[in-house]
Every structure is written in C-alpha cells, then in structure tokens.
C-alpha cells in the first residue's frame, strides 16, 4: 500500500541501482528506557518499522504508549537505549537533531514568539545558508500553500490556533525534509477545525510528496488519513497494516478494542472441519471462525464488527454464524440504529443496522431476535 512517488535524492541511499530504494525511515529493535528517580521507565520496548518514501504513516495508540518517545528518537532528541535508527539507509546513532534531514511539527507548535510568521518559516532555510532571494521565494510559496500570505508580518500571538498550526507546518515543510514528523498536530484544535485540517494535511502531503509520520491517539483520524498505521500499546507495535487491514482483521484483542467498536466472543471449540472452527451454543446456534491451528475443546476468543451482523426475526441460513438473544437496548441514530443484544451465555453483542426506507424498525426492546454474519467476518484473537 506504500505509495512510492518520484525519486527524491534521499531515495538513492541504498546500494546499486536497481535495488529497491532504502526506506525513508527504518527502526530495528529500537527501545528506550528512561531513568526516573531511583527506578527506570521503559517507554518503548522494541520496535521494528520500515517507513517508505512518500508514505503517510501513522503511529496510533493510547496516551502514554510511547508514540512521542518514538518520534523524538527519530528526530534525534532522545538516543535509543537499544536498536538502530536509519534515515534513508544511513545509521543516525549519535547524529544531533540539527544534522538530521527530518523536521518535526510539535503538538504545542513551538513557534518562535519574537519572530514574525515569515521569519519563523525562513528560520530553517537561513540555517542552511540558502541564498536570500531563494529564501524569499520559497517562504512566499509555502505561505501560499498554507494560505497565510496575508499574515506574513504578524507575530504568532496574533494568530488563531488553526493559523498557528499552519505556520508550524509551513516552518517544517519549507525545508523539504526527507520526512516530516507530526506529533498530534491537531490535538489542540476543536473538532470542526480538526476535520478540516485533516483533509488539508492530506492534500498538502499529496502535493509535496514528502514522507509523513503522523502521531495520534485518535483512531478515526488515523484511519482517514494514513496509507499505513502502526498500532502501539505499552511500548510495542501490536499491528502494522493499512487502515482496512487493521479495521477488518485486528490482530490482537487490544487492536480490536481500540479501533472502532468490536464484539468479543469467547467459547469452546466443538469441531474443526475444513479449517473452520465451530462453537456451538445449542438450539441450532453456532459461531464459525477461520480456525487454523485450533483444536476441539480449546477455549478461543473471537471478534466481529457490529456493522457485519444482521438482525432478523426468522432463522438465518446454517452456513452463517448465528446466535439468538434478547434485545436490551435500541438507539436510533438517523442513518443507523444500534441494538444491544444479550445472548444465551450472557454476552452483550452490539449490532449496527442501516435504516433503509422499507425495514424501518426491525426489533423492539425485549424482543427475541436472531443475529447472523458471514463466517469470514469473525477473527480468532490470540490469547
């Protein structure tokens, strides 16, 4: 799913021509343990990642899972306690931040308060001793890109939050780094502005073709914007994949719970045939799941998304996973209705049904109803 754009100079980093270009960023067994008072805190356990040129890559995870620490190690503000970080194939151990070809957009923006917007944006180019005529031109282009041309002579304190955010972005992008690191860049904005800026960021990334590494704890933001996502938890990457892969086939219980809404079912395998494990609940009820490596009598955990489940009064086909229950709650939400159904083994299952014009109200609270879904929509989770 990685989008390889036009060759940038950094892409030639790896060996002889013909070989695939080195990843923009690669982490090999990277870990970070902080000394904290008398003890230590391990923020990042062990991360292996390859981020390709031109990719929009997200690090997604709850607060405190080590996203910022990972980012700061790539930027050079923290040295890993183990492992190696390579930028365009080159080991950057010990290289200070000012000599790494990546730029960072801070959550607090960290604009220089005593400089105008234009001087903020020009800061990086001046450090690189770019001729002043070119600096002027590139700053003007960049301010145009983020639509702040008329604010060039303002101080950061005279701008709104969204405008400051765009200055922070322009200040980093103008240097044409091989990768841009964004640490929850939209975290301080209100919902509406955040959604507008998500589309804006995506547009800018497509236009400039620079690798974006995007940190967020907001799963919908990551799903909307990313080419690939690494879902992190407690300092490890739990799953790495495209938004669709992560949403459709969560690899762990944590991922299933963190991304969207998931129903978690547990049960004992009755039979395994043709690679399908079957859990029976009696009275014609059973759940089927792809069960490579499961054996009869084994306890398994599986997951199914609420929008994959169909609610019906009549008995569904026996090829499907099907289970009966009592409707406990009905929440009408306009285009969809959310049902909570309690099954025979006292598990609550959430079902999202589209409200089509003909089938307006499928079930009422207290009704008994059948739930069914195609077997390939359940995934067996480890542990």
């Amino acid at each position: 799913m990685a989008i390889t754009t036009e060759e940038t100079p950094a892409a030639h980093g790896a060996g002889p021509t013909g070989a695939p270009p080195a990843p923009a960023i690669s982490l090999e067994g990277v870990g970070k343990t902080y000394r904290s008072g008398p003890g230590t805190v391990t923020a990042v356990h062990r991360i292996d990642l390859e981020i390709q040129q031109g990719e929009f890559f997200s690090l997604l995870g709850p607060s405190g899972c080590g996203k910022t620490t990972t980012m700061r190690m790539i930027a050079g503000f923290e040295e890993p306690t183990s492992g190696t970080i390579r930028l365009a194939g080159k080991d950057v151990t010990g290289v200070p931040p000012n000599r790494r070809d990546v730029n960072m957009v801070f959550q607090s923006y960290a604009l220089f308060p005593h400089m105008t917007v234009a001087d903020n944006v020009a800061f990086g180019l001046k450090r690189k001793k770019v001729p002043s005529a070119e600096i002027k031109k590139r700053v003007a282009e960049m301010l145009d890109l983020v639509e702040l041309t008329d604010r060039a002579r303002y101080k950061p304190s005279q701008l709104s939050g969204g405008q400051q955010q765009r200055v922070a972005l322009a200040r980093a992008l103008v240097n044409r780094p091989s990768a841009l690191l964004l640490d929850e860049p939209l975290g301080a904005l209100d919902l509406k502005l955040r959604q507008a800026m998500q589309l804006e960021l995506k547009r800018i990334q497509r236009e400039v073709g620079i690798t974006f590494v995007y940190v967020t704890h907001d799963q919908s933001e990551a799903l909307t914007m990313s080419d690939r996502i690494a879902v992190m938890n407690k300092g490890v990457v739990e799953q790495l994949g495209t938004p669709a892969e992560i949403y459709e086939t969560p690899a762990t219980r944590f991922v299933a719970g963190f991304i969207g809404t998931s129903n978690i079912l547990t049960g004992t395998v009755d039979t395994v045939s043709d690679g399908w494990a079957r859990i029976g609940y009696g009275h014609g009820q059973h759940v089927l799941a792809k069960g490579d490596g499961t054996a009869p009598n084994e306890e398994i955990v599986l997951t199914v998304r609420p929008e994959k489940i169909r609610l019906s009064a009549e008995e569904p086909d026996a090829n499907l996973s099907r289970i009966r229950g009592t409707v406990r709650e009905v929440v009408y939400l306009g285009s969809t209705t959310h049902y909570t159904v309690r099954t025979v083994d006292d598990t609550d299952i959430v079902v999202f049904q589209q409200n089509s014009s003909d089938a307006s109200n499928l079930a009422e609270r207290g009704d008994t109803a059948w739930l069914s879904w195609r077997p390939e929509h359940s995934y067996v989770l480890p542990g």
Binding site: A75, P96, P97, M104, S108, L111, K128, N175
Partner: protein, 274 residues
C-alpha cells in the same frame, strides 16, 4: 458607551444618592499622593531661590541652580562614582544573574536547593549584616576598600534579583521552542543567540535595571565597604549636617526625569510590540 450610560443614569437612579468617588478610588489617590509628595518637594526645592545654606523654606522661584548644577566638584565626583558603580553592577549582575537564572530554571543539579536558599538569603538578609560581614571579609583578606569592593558588594546583593527574574521567565518558557530551533538546523550556540536570548531579554533587562536602581541609591552596605570612595547617597548624608545644597535637588530631579522618560519609552515600545 460611556455617553449612553451617563444619559440614562438620571432617569434610572433618582431614588438613591450614590457617592461619586468610591472608597477604593479615594484610597488609591491617597497612596499616589503620599508617594509623590516627597518627589514633588524635591523637584520644587530645586527651583528655590535661597541665599544661605539652608534649603528648607520657600524663598522664591529661580532656575539658577540648573546653571550651577555642577558647582561642587566633589559632588560631581560622587555622582560619577555612583554611575560607574551602578552601570558596572548592572552589567556584571545582568550577565551572572542571567546565567544563574537560566541554570536554575532549566537544569536539575546537585545543590539546587542550597543555591535557592542562598539566593533568597541574600535578598532577605538585613543590609547592616551584609555590610558588616563584607567589611570584615575584606579586612581579613587584606583587600583595600574602595571602588572595587563597592562594586563587589553591590553585585553580591543585586545578582539574586536578576537570577530570580530570569529563572521565572525560563520556567514558563516552552522547552519545545528551543528544540524546534535545533530541529530546524541551529546548533546550540545559534539556538541560544537567536531564540533563547531574545526570549529572555525582557527579563534580563528588567533584572538589570532593577540592579542599577538598587545600586544607585544604596547607602547602608556602601557605607561599610566604601573606604575613601564617595558616592551620591554618601555625599548627601555627609552634607546634611551643614545643609544640603540645591544642586542635590537638581541632580535628583534630573535622575528622576531620566527614569520617567525611560519608563515611558518602555511602555510605548511594549504597546507598539503587541
């Protein structure tokens, strides 16, 4: 807005009499008058047309003392000494205090608590104690008292003020701003020069000017360590027994005017900046 309120007032509140001046306002004005009267007196008596040595009762208006402002060579020398000490103190305390404040606000180090304590002790210790202690120190190490010892003493009691002002600024400063500079290609010195220093400058300036003001009018500590050196406050004290000449009022007025002008410029610049 104001006009509208005024017009509406008679119709709305004829029932109750309200004092036009609130107690708070009255108190504020009383404090301002109390603060300003001695200064107004000093300025007025710089225009007093006296003939003897006693400048205590009003004799008539004259500008002649401004023409003879520098008629006493030893008073001139005292004023010059005061300015030399003041500027030296401002520069030395400004630099040392800023570095101290930066270190104390930014880093955790061994003895941080102790240095905090020492700083506040230097501010809160009675001046007589500091003066006496310094004098006995200079005597012990056999250092001749004079210009140098006065500067050392003044730096000693003003440096904490600069350090505290700068430290307060450092602690409210987002460390990410300096990281951003590093990230954009600035080495540590460039980061300090272009980002840290400009952001600290108002605090450094405030601390420096405070040091200057404290140094210029210090009397107690200076008395202990001045030796043969005369300063403006010491000279005035010396002349009280024989009568303070109007030149002192003239110089006081000039110093006051310079201070007011600097303050006004600062306010105007600050307003233009925001």
């Amino acid at each position: 807005m104001r006009a509208a309120t005024k017009e509406a007032a008679p119709a709305a509140a004829p029932r109750r009499w309200r004092p036009r001046i609130s107690l708070g306002k009255l108190f504020t004005w009383a404090v301002l008058v109390w603060l300003f009267v001695p200064i107004a007196g000093m300025i007025a008596f710089s225009f007093n047309d006296i003939s003897g040595r006693q400048n205590v009762s009003w004799q008539g208006f004259t500008l002649k003392w401004y023409g003879q402002a520098f008629a006493y060579p030893d008073l001139n020398q005292a004023l010059i000494n005061t300015l030399v000490v003041g500027v030296s103190t401002m520069v030395i305390s400004g630099i040392t205090g800023s570095l101290l404040g930066l270190a104390m606000g930014r880093y955790r180090f061994r003895g941080q608590q102790i240095s905090n304590l020492v700083m506040f002790a230097a501010i809160s210790a009675p001046e007589v104690v500091i003066g006496a202690a310094l004098l006995s120190l200079f005597l012990t190490i056999n250092m001749t008292t004079g210009l140098l010892t006065v500067i050392i003493a003044h730096v000693m009691f003003t440096v904490s003020f600069v350090a505290i002002t700068v430290r307060a600024r450092v602690m409210t400063m987002d460390p990410r701003i300096e990281e951003a500079a590093r990230d954009l290609g600035a080495d540590s010195w460039t980061t300090f020069r272009l980002v840290t220093f400009p952001m600290l400058f108002p605090a450094i300036m405030a601390g420096g000017l405070l040091s200057f003001a404290l140094s210029v009018d210090d009397f107690i500590i200076t008395t202990f360590v001045s030796g043969e050196l005369s300063t403006f406050p010491l000279w005035i004290w010396g002349s009280t027994r024989i009568g303070i000449p109007p030149q002192v009022n003239v110089m006081g007025t000039l110093i006051f005017v310079v201070g007011v002008v600097l303050t006004v410029i600062n306010v105007v610049l600050a307003r233009r900046r925001s």
